[in-house]
């Protein structure tokens, strides 16, 4: 906000802020130079030296900036890959449904849309997950069947992130409870071993186990597609991280909750279900959101297995002969998508932090 007549002291104040000590002045100068340079390069690439989408592709060959025509030509390929062209509405619908449901969950846990019951959301997920596979796979009601190897791009990214997260949450909560309780020491020990092992190995090795070892463990003759195998591996992997977040919530509960529940005559199961878990889950929500962001971003690691999620279809889009010059356009597309979606998730996380700060808990 710029006041019309600034008091004379304010300018000196600003100068002191920027260059109070020699170190501050140096940091200011370097940062400003770096910031301006980055800003200039971004502006130059996206606008000044860029080719507008109205021009044909041929002009783009020796341009320094972005070729916006590339998106006109390739965005459908980057979004849906080799899915049959005439059937693109199906992956589009699946992606929209998954995004809408995830967005609803995100808004609900920040306290908005409180008229939606959690039970309704859980039911929606239970309906949605099979629906996604049925809609993508086809083979009913006149929908052409599409082999799972042709599921590419955005729907694969969303299936492997959103559905894996949705399915691993219950498993994670169960593991957290097993690790927290002291009633069944063997189970507790087993949960500790599982969680610590999973958290001690890289996700890439877990993905490799899913794609290479999991098919071996099935009865001879059974075939499992890499996408499904990865989904299974991701569910087991994320569960261990979620388990630790929820355990944090459980451990932060005061012991009096436990005692009060017991003195009311609740059984162990009732105490967990009615008293401890609801409070623990709401306390661990910020940590869970952080883990969800990590899990969502890491989903793109499946590119090393040759599974065609968004990052991989973007790479395919510039790997064809003649398209090699458009790597930055393709990756900028993926980057923009992740920046936008992660910004939403971080916003949810910040809202939760703010609310918990306000509650003082």
């Amino acid at each position: 906000m710029m006041g019309a007549a600034r008091p004379p002291g304010q300018r000196r104040e600003r100068l002191r802020k920027w260059a109070g000590t020699p170190v501050t002045a140096l940091v200011s100068a370097l940062s400003a130079a770096l910031g301006l340079w980055v800003l200039w390069r971004v502006l130059d690439w996206t606008v000044l030296s860029a080719i507008s989408p109205a021009h044909p592709m041929a002009i783009c060959a020796d341009a320094h900036g972005a070729c916006w025509r590339f998106y006109v030509e390739k965005s459908r390929f980057m979004l849906f890959g080799t899915y049959p062209y005439s059937e693109h509405w199906r992956p589009a619908l699946v992606s929209a449904l998954l995004l809408a449901l995830s967005g609803l969950v995100g808004l609900r846990i920040t306290g908005r849309l409180s008229f939606i019951r959690p039970r309704v959301l859980i039911a929606a997920w239970l309906v949605m997950i099979p629906l996604v596979f049925v809609l993508m796979g086809g083979g009913w009601a006149g929908l052409a069947p599409v082999d799972i190897s042709r599921w590419n791009g955005m729907p694969v990214l969303l299936i492997l992130s959103v559905i894996a997260i949705a399915l691993s949450l219950p498993l994670g909560v169960m593991l957290a409870v097993l690790r927290y309780q002291s009633r069944w020491p063997v189970l507790r020990r087993a949960a500790v071993v599982y969680i610590e092992t999973m958290r001690g190995i890289p996700m890439v090795t877990v993905l490799f186990v899913g794609v290479f070892v999991l098919p071996l463990t099935l009865p001879p003759g059974t075939v499992i597609s890499p996408v499904l195998a990865t989904l299974v591996a991701l569910i087991f992997f994320h569960a261990s991280y979620f388990a630790e977040d929820v355990r944090g919530g459980l451990q932060s509960l005061p012991g009096s909750q436990d005692e009060a529940a017991r003195s009311l005559g609740l059984s162990w199961g009732q105490m967990m279900r009615l008293v401890l878990l609801p409070q623990a889950l709401s306390r661990s929500l910020p940590a869970l959101v952080n883990s969800v962001i990590g899990a969502y971003k890491d989903t793109s690691l499946v590119v090393v297995l040759g599974i065609h999620d968004l990052t991989s279809t973007a790479r395919m889009a510039f790997s064809e002969p003649g398209w090699g010059g458009f790597a930055f356009e393709a990756y900028a597309f993926v980057g923009a998508w992740f920046l936008v979606s992660c910004a939403f998730l971080s916003w949810v996380g910040r809202e939760l932090h703010r609310r918990q700060g306000a509650q003082g808990g």
């Binding site: 910031g35 063997v186 090795t205 490799f208 290479f212 930055f328 990756y331 980057g335 992740f338």
Partner: protein, 387 residues
């Protein structure tokens, strides 16, 4: 919660737990039977005998002498060494970057804070694999070919490798271990003595410069006196490529930069949180005692920051070690990509993945237990000096 049961209380065995674990074990056994059946169908028997066979593939780079005729076990070891090397280099880069940006993010300078914020938000909201792929495209497309390499003194940078001068290895260099050990002992003695003097008299004796001089000067002096060959090897351009010197592939540099930038952003947040968590009263009290601003930072703020920062830092370091496995995406021969190649060659996913996971688990446990020990000592020291 302490155990406050009466000593004679009967401990019921955990039948439910034993039953569930037994069921899970039985399920795993069933899967194992399937593995054996499937491998028999492919004409293989599970086992680790293949480890002694010749690998037959070449590594793009290796820290130990390795040829395609060596065994699978040696290839795995070479991959493990590459992973450790990559992890150590990235740890150093990420720590330096993270601490510098963390300090910048709390400076009074608005542009500095803006740049730090931009950096953190960018790398926290992009997947690391995307950063890696973009940097790889930049390096391969943006850097000049070998013949037109960018040169800075004796170092050369091309789109395939970075070439650095190095000391030629010589068998007699093994004797340098002796003066190195002696210098380390002397340095240890000096550190203890300086600490004792500081405790008794309050006088500050130089520690870091003396230790550095001892560690570097001892072996160097020994090499000069005893005539141990320390020939410098400079990279020079032959017909198609540079020869001599040390060669670091562009894949290595790209993964190093990715991990450094990515975890630098995380460490920046850790450092920022640690600095902001220092109670303002501590700084005010130190100022009121008449300490200069440098002394306030060194004697009051830094010890407090260090204490809060180390546990999350250990987390970051362990994550970084695990994340070196993304190097497989650009084909740096780390542990993961070596074991991927072996799986494709021998079709032994179960055995290889068990070995690989075991090695990563071991590395992570080693790193976290080492750093936890450092943390314990630090906490114990601050606790001892506290009233």
């Amino acid at each position: 919660m302490q155990d406050c049961r009466p000593p004679l209380a009967r401990v019921r065995p955990d039948w439910l737990g034993i039953a569930v674990v037994g069921l899970v074990a039985a399920g795993l056994g069933l899967l194992g039977v399937n593995v054996i059946l499937n491998m028999h169908a492919a004409g293989l028997t599970p086992g680790y005998g293949f480890m002694a066979q010749a690998a037959g593939f070449d590594l793009s780079e290796s820290l130990i002498p390795y040829t395609a005729g060596d065994t699978y076990a040696r290839v795995i070891f070479a991959g493990l060494l590459n992973t450790v090397f990559l992890a150590l280099a990235s740890l150093a880069l990420a720590t330096v970057l993270g601490v510098v940006m963390g300090l910048v993010s709390v400076t009074p300078s608005p542009p500095g804070r803006a740049v730090a914020l931009l950096y953190v938000e960018l790398f926290r909201n992009l997947p690391k694999i995307l950063v890696l792929l973009v940097l790889y495209v930049v390096a391969v497309r943006g850097l000049p070919p070998v013949r037109a390499a960018l040169s800075l003194g004796p170092a050369h940078l091309s789109n395939r490798s970075i070439y650095l001068p190095t000391v030629l290895p010589d068998p007699s260099q093994i004797w340098l271990i002796l003066p190195l050990a002696a210098s380390a002992l002397a340095a240890l003695w000096w550190t203890r003595k300086a600490a004792r003097i500081k405790r008794d008299t309050g006088r500050e004796w130089p520690v870091v410069p003396v230790v550095l001089a001892l560690i570097v000067g001892g072996p160097l002096g020994f090499a000069l006196l005893a005539d141990v060959p320390l020939t410098l090897s400079l990279p020079r351009l032959e017909r198609f490529d540079y020869v001599g010197g040390m060669r670091l592939s562009v894949q290595f540099i790209v993964v190093l930069l990715t991990l450094g930038l990515y975890h630098g952003a995380q460490i920046c947040e850790v450092v920022r949180g640690g600095i902001l968590a220092v109670p303002a009263g501590q700084v005010e009290a130190a100022r009121a005692l008449g300490l200069t601003s440098g002394q306030v930072t060194r004697l009051v703020v830094l010890p407090l920051v260090l204490r809060t920062v180390i546990p999350p830092m250990i987390n970051q370091y362990v994550n970084l070690i695990k994340n070196t496995s993304i190097a497989i995406a650009v084909g740096y021969s780390d542990l993961m990509s070596v074991s991927g190649t072996i799986i494709n060659q021998t079709f032994r996913p179960l055995e290889m993945m068990l070995v690989t996971m075991g090695l990563y688990l071991g590395l992570c446990l080693l790193a976290s237990s080492l750093m936890n020990r450092v943390n314990d000592r630090l906490q114990a020291r601050t606790a001892r000096t506290a009233p």
